[in-house]
């Protein structure tokens, strides 16, 4: 039975999970949730995620939410297929992957997410992007990227010389970031830039990126 993913193809958190599903060659069905109609804040969706956020996943009688938890489940369930995203054979490598997954969650995401919100979501609420918020978070993101630049000068990917879930978690928000006038933060750091070009060119992400058209005319 195929997995059911409830979300929106344009949404970075939904895209995070879909990228993982493609890397693991897992069968799934995307069931669109109409954000503009507020479908994610009402039943029946609220029963799938009481926090009223997409995505949510159903696998038979298992119901999950939180994109990173869903992705970790998919990576584990389909560990024999596709790319080894979680380093199953080595607890030490798996621990390094966990460190950089936490870094994405606790350092990278809090800095990049408000920038994406200001450029893509605020205009939909009739607001002009708040430059003060953008500038404040660009400064934070720059400091995080300095750490990434140093790490990526020593290892090809974040957790080591292997592509992992830690790298994958960065894809969807960074993809939107690269469409803003702030993309220089990535492009000015040679190792970060090379890493970004590598991970964003993976076929599994390319499949997802083509639908990530948030903010473009006609959407």
């Amino acid at each position: 039975m195929a997995l059911k993913l409830y979300g929106a193809a344009m949404s970075p958190c939904t895209s995070r999970v879909m990228t993982c599903l493609h890397e693991k060659e897992a069968d799934f069905e995307l069931i669109p949730i109409d954000l503009f109609a507020g479908e994610h804040k009402q039943l029946p969706f609220l029963a799938k995620n009481p926090f009223g956020q997409i995505p949510a996943l159903e696998d038979g009688d298992l119901s999950l939410f939180e994109s990173r938890a869903i992705s970790a489940y998919v990576a584990e369930k389909y560990k024999e297929a596709g790319h080894d995203l979680i380093r199953c054979q080595s607890l030490k490598e798996a621990a390094e992957v966990k460190v950089w997954m936490e870094v994405e969650s606790q350092q990278y995401h809090p800095a990049i997410s408000p920038i994406i919100f200001q450029f893509f979501a605020a205009p939909l609420q009739g607001k002009v992007p708040d430059q003060a918020i953008i500038d404040e978070n660009l400064e934070k993101l720059g400091k995080v990227l300095d750490v990434y630049e140093e790490k990526l000068s020593r290892t090809k990917y974040l957790a080591g010389d292997f592509y992992s879930l830690a790298d994958l978690f960065h894809l969807s928000f960074t993809y939107y970031f690269m469409k803003t006038p702030c993309a220089n933060l990535i492009n000015e750091r040679p190792h970060v830039k090379a890493w970004w070009e590598d991970i964003s060119s993976r076929p599994a992400f390319q499949k997802v990126a083509s639908a990530m058209t948030f903010g473009e005319k006609g959407n």
């Binding site: 009481p50 938890a69 970790a72 607890l91 621990a95 966990k98 140093e150």
Partner: protein
């Protein structure tokens, strides 16, 4: 095993709680945050983000408290308290989910409240009551979800204490000593869960370190 940290730091306490639950030997190395030691060239190789805690075991170096607890709980799965939810991928997924909820839903508003209600007074700064009001409202909505979950499950991930519950301990303890305690008291299942997890002997050992 070495933990480099600061006893008052919530994230340091998270790792210490895990180590005490697993009943493993470790050495605590104090990092003088008031003197800015966590930003010094000596410390940065242990955590390039200049934050406590940092963890060493042999040549393995880790940072980020939740990655550290994950490693400890797996490496020492056979010792002390069972902090994981072994079984099928499905049970592990539910466990992972509630750890993510702590990180992304519970932690942001609660650490903001800890900063305003506990940290600022401690360091002679003025609490911003407008921020407190805003974040208590956000935190209350999160706790409503917890109340519903804990009405159907004794602990967050399942019927026994796991890392999903443990990760909340340091922030919960700080908020119990603040006006935000009322948000727990008015929710019977949350209140019972808070009382239960903060009464664990391993947690008392962490609190005991503060008295030294």
């Amino acid at each position: 095993m070495k933990v480099h940290g600061y006893p008052l730091s919530t994230v340091t306490q998270r790792v210490l709680a895990c180590l005490y639950e697993k009943d493993v030997e470790f050495q605590f190395v104090n990092v003088d945050m008031v003197a800015g030691e966590h930003k010094s060239p000596n410390f940065l190789p242990l955590n390039p983000f200049g934050q406590v805690p940092a963890f060493e075991e042999g040549d393995l170096k880790l940072f980020e408290s939740r990655a550290t607890t994950h490693y400890i709980a797996h490496e020492y799965a056979d010792k002390g308290t069972q902090l994981l939810l072994p079984g099928s991928n499905k049970t592990m997924a539910v466990f992972q989910l509630w750890k993510e909820v702590e990180a992304h839903q519970f932690d942001p508003p609660s650490t903001k409240l800890v900063f305003e209600l506990r940290y600022k007074p401690h360091f002679g700064m003025t609490t911003d009551t407008a921020v407190v009001e805003e974040y208590e409202a956000k935190f209350a909505k999160v706790l409503d979800v917890y109340e519903a979950r804990l009405a159907e499950s004794k602990y967050l991930a399942c019927d026994h204490f796991t890392l999903a519950d443990l990760h909340h301990l340091p922030t919960v303890q700080y908020l119990l000593g603040s006006s935000a305690k009322k948000l727990f008291d008015s929710r019977p299942h949350v209140s019972a869960w808070v009382a239960d997890i903060t009464a664990r002997p391993a947690w008392s050992k962490v609190m005991g370190m503060l008295k030294q």
